[in-house]
């Protein structure tokens, strides 16, 4: 029996031939819906396959279909079927089409909403016909009747579908002479959301998102007609951990983020593809920055990780990057001598001198007299380099575990972005943090004389200030000052993830890269850059000076990363077996 016969063949993907704007295309009969279940392909999906965008507001590929905005109306036709159940042909042999028309006005086209109408064999979609255009213009005019002229103060301006479609299908002047209906403005919907009801076009994306994706049925519509208003359930603020996603999916400026409100116009923001570092899920994000300042983070679609969403906790966890007390200088410190403010006596050094001095001291230190406490917030490449250093020094290594409450959607209990990477790089065993007491014991006994700490405050994790005081050499690299940096002999200023490039491996083993959004502060440098220099100076073996080369070298050496390269990661990453 051959391998082919033993496995049942996958059902062939059934295709349908249709015409979009006169062009013949073949589309699958069934397409996965927002939950991934196969459903009949809709006209909107078929048009997308044909490369034609049908304007829409309420339709979202990751939400159930509501079909209430009517913006995606298109004119269509179906083949005429004769009494013999065969298509009736024209004289030239083409199938005769029956355009959909209004039953009471046979000359006028009757549109169908493309988002919810399934295609049928032989169907013709007239996505750019005069009748389709007229329907779009009418729907848009109707949506704009009560819409305020808020664009100059609206945070959505620049990424607003209403603005974009107004340019495409709108009119220069309004025909509406009556007084506009005024609805509540600046409504406090919850701790992170402000609602402007006048701007709302009642697409119900937010209602469906919070009900069907989050499972918190918090939003709904009240009143009727022009007074139809979005609101939250009385007495229950809209405060789940995913509220800010409604700001992203709101096609207009009705739902705005309190955090981003009136801070920067969106067209100034430089968008950088990055990864959220607040938990082990590793949601794909886009960082919006201007003039080296981060203004917001938004989710980036990756169906293998986070779909189109991210949690509020991760989204708002970026402000520490811009803190004023960031470590910005390479410092040589003498913790035994204190200044008047309790600060250790220090002198400013520079990178070449610090790397030279540290490597000389590390080379002179006897084997097994050093220990390394790394952070699972560091990138795969940095942890790989740290492990190289540890191997040369025969040092004990470990990282600090960090956990919190997980939830049903995205938030992971592991609050380190790269725990898997730390394990794969050989920094820690299956039980992260289990070797920390051993390191503390080693220092107490005087066996460990040198400690290298990256990105963690070890005084909070069992290696107190008294123990650190016994060390001959304490090298600390961190982003923000803490109790450990105060006791260090060498302070090396490091970068936040938004200031460097690298890769993380999430809890499910997906290796994903992130890019640099802003410049590091002061003398701060990406850890992998100076670690590379340090490893070279200590071990004498050269590595790669670019992140691409370093990643590829790591992928060759660590079996779990076998076969992947920096380039093959792409924007959405690669899943490796763990």
């Amino acid at each position: 029996m051959s391998a082919l016969e033993s496995k049942p063949a996958p059902p062939p993907i059934e295709k349908i031939r249709i015409k979009v704007d006169g062009r013949d295309i073949e589309v699958p009969r069934m397409t996965p819906d927002w939950q991934g279940k196969l459903q009949p392909t809709t006209m909107l999906q078929a048009c997308a396959l044909a490369g034609i965008d049908v304007p829409h507001y309420c339709y979202h590929p990751k939400l159930p279909i509501a079909g209430n905005c009517r913006m995606c109306l298109v004119e269509f036709g179906t083949p005429v079927i004769g009494p013999d159940k065969k298509p009736v042909l024209n004289e030239d042999g083409t199938p005769k089409m029956m355009r959909s028309v209004l039953p009471y006005e046979p000359a006028a086209a009757r549109g169908a909403i493309a988002c919810a109408t399934p295609i049928s064999p032989g169907m013709e979609i007239y996505a750019s016909s005069a009748a389709t255009k007229q329907m779009r213009e009418a729907v848009l005019e109707s949506l704009l009747i009560n819409h305020p002229l808020d664009c100059p103060i609206c945070d959505q301006a620049g990424e607003c579908k209403l603005q974009e479609y107004s340019v495409d299908h709108g009119q220069a002047t309004s025909r509406f002479a009556e007084e506009k209906v005024h609805k509540p403005k600046q409504v406090d919907l919850g701790p992170r959301i402000v609602l402007d009801d006048e701007r709302c076009i009642l697409c119900s994306r937010c209602v469906r998102f919070t009900k069907d994706i989050v499972g918190d049925d918090a939003l709904g519509f009240v009143n009727r007609g022009s007074y139809n208003t979005l609101t939250h359930f009385p007495g229950k603020p809209f405060d789940n951990n995913y509220t800010l996603n409604t700001v992203d999916i709101c096609p207009v400026g009705a739902l705005t983020s309190k955090d981003f409100r009136f801070k920067m116009r969106v067209w100034f923001l430089k968008e950088t593809k990055s990864i959220c570092t607040s938990c082990g899920t590793g949601c794909n994000i886009v960082i919006g920055s201007r003039q080296e300042k981060i203004y917001r983070c938004e989710p980036r679609q990756n169906d293998a990780v986070n779909s189109c969403w991210m949690c509020d906790y991760g989204r708002l966890n970026y402000k520490w990057i811009g803190r004023d007390d960031r470590l910005t200088q390479v410092k040589r410190q003498n913790p035994s001598i204190h200044g008047p403010g309790g600060e250790p006596a220090s002198s400013v050094s520079n990178w070449p001198a610090a790397v030279r001095e540290i490597s000389t001291k590390l080379r002179a230190s006897p084997a097994s007299s050093a220990a390394i406490v790394a952070s699972a917030r560091q990138t795969n490449e940095e942890l790989y380099l740290l492990n190289k250093l540890a191997q040369q020094l025969s040092a004990i290594t470990d990282a600090v575990p960090r956990s919190g409450q997980s939830d049903h959607l995205l938030l992971s209990a592991d609050r380190n972005p790269n725990s898997t990477g730390a394990r794969l790089a050989g920094i820690c065993g299956d039980q992260m943090g289990s070797k920390l007491p051993k390191i503390a014991e080693g220092i107490r006994k005087g066996v460990i004389k040198t400690l290298i700490v990256f990105g963690e405050d070890v005084t909070k994790h069992g290696i107190g200030a008294d123990l650190l005081g016994r060390l001959d050499l304490l090298i600390v690299s961190d982003i923000l000052p803490n109790a450990t940096t105060k006791l260090a002999h060498y302070v090396l200023p490091a970068c936040a993830h938004a200031e460097k490039r690298g890769t993380f491996t999430n809890i499910k083993g997906r290796v994903q890269k992130f890019l640099k959004a802003v410049e590091p502060r002061g003398d701060a440098r990406p850890e992998w850059e100076f670690l590379h220099e340090l490893v070279f100076a200590v071990t004498g073996r050269n590595g790669f000076v670019s992140i691409e080369g370093l990643f590829n070298q790591m992928a060759e050496e660590i079996p779990a990363f076998a076969g992947i390269t920096w380039a093959s990661l792409g924007d959405s990453g690669v899943t490796i077996p763990i």
């Binding site: 103060i153 600046q186 309190k258 009136f262 801070k263 116009r265």
Partner: protein, 166 residues
């Protein structure tokens, strides 16, 4: 190549005829109508539509018309305009004004008086006025802040009052 200088004649070498010629021109203008303006005591009246320095204006009720949309900052070719948006607080000092700039700076050393800011402004809040001579003794002094721009711009009598009925 050496160009030979023309020899002066005796009459030219005398020097006096040239001096007399000069005095004749002076005397002629002495009795003519004066064209010189006593600048800076006396100032040139610029024609309508002149593009001088851009200033911010207030509406009849003293509200800042600018809503900090930053379109002028975006369109400004020499990047002379820097606006600090108000942040989530909106416009704390002004009642029902939903949004107003926290700070608005125009670097008059950079400004090229092109008028794009006036053209792009959706709120009719910035106008190129008739000031053409801007002076200062330091660079910082030439960066005009919001208060100064509003004081120089004055009130703009406008039928559209955005915040009046809000």
């Amino acid at each position: 190549m050496i160009v030979k200088r023309k020899e002066l004649s005796f009459w030219e070498r005398l020097y006096l005829p040239a001096v007399i010629g000069g005095f004749k021109v002076t005397l002629r203008h002495f009795f003519k109508k004066k064209v010189t303006m006593q600048y800076p005591e006396e100032k040139w009246v610029v024609p309508d539509g002149y593009r001088g320095a851009p200033y911010l204006v207030k509406d009849q009720e003293g509200r800042t018309k600018c809503v900090s949309c930053q379109l002028c900052e975006f369109v400004c070719p020499p990047k002379a305009i820097t606006i600090t948006p108000p942040g989530p607080a909106g416009a704390p000092e002004a009642g029902n004004v939903e949004k107003a700039p926290k700070e608005f700076e125009i670097n008059m050393l950079r400004c090229i008086f092109c008028g794009y800011c006036q053209e792009v402004c959706p709120e009719e809040a910035i106008f190129l006025m008739k000031d053409y001579s801007l002076t200062g003794s330091t660079r910082e002094e030439m960066i005009y802040k919001k208060e100064k721009l509003l004081a120089l711009g004055g009130v703009h009598n406008d039928r559209i009052q955005k915040w009046k009925n809000k």
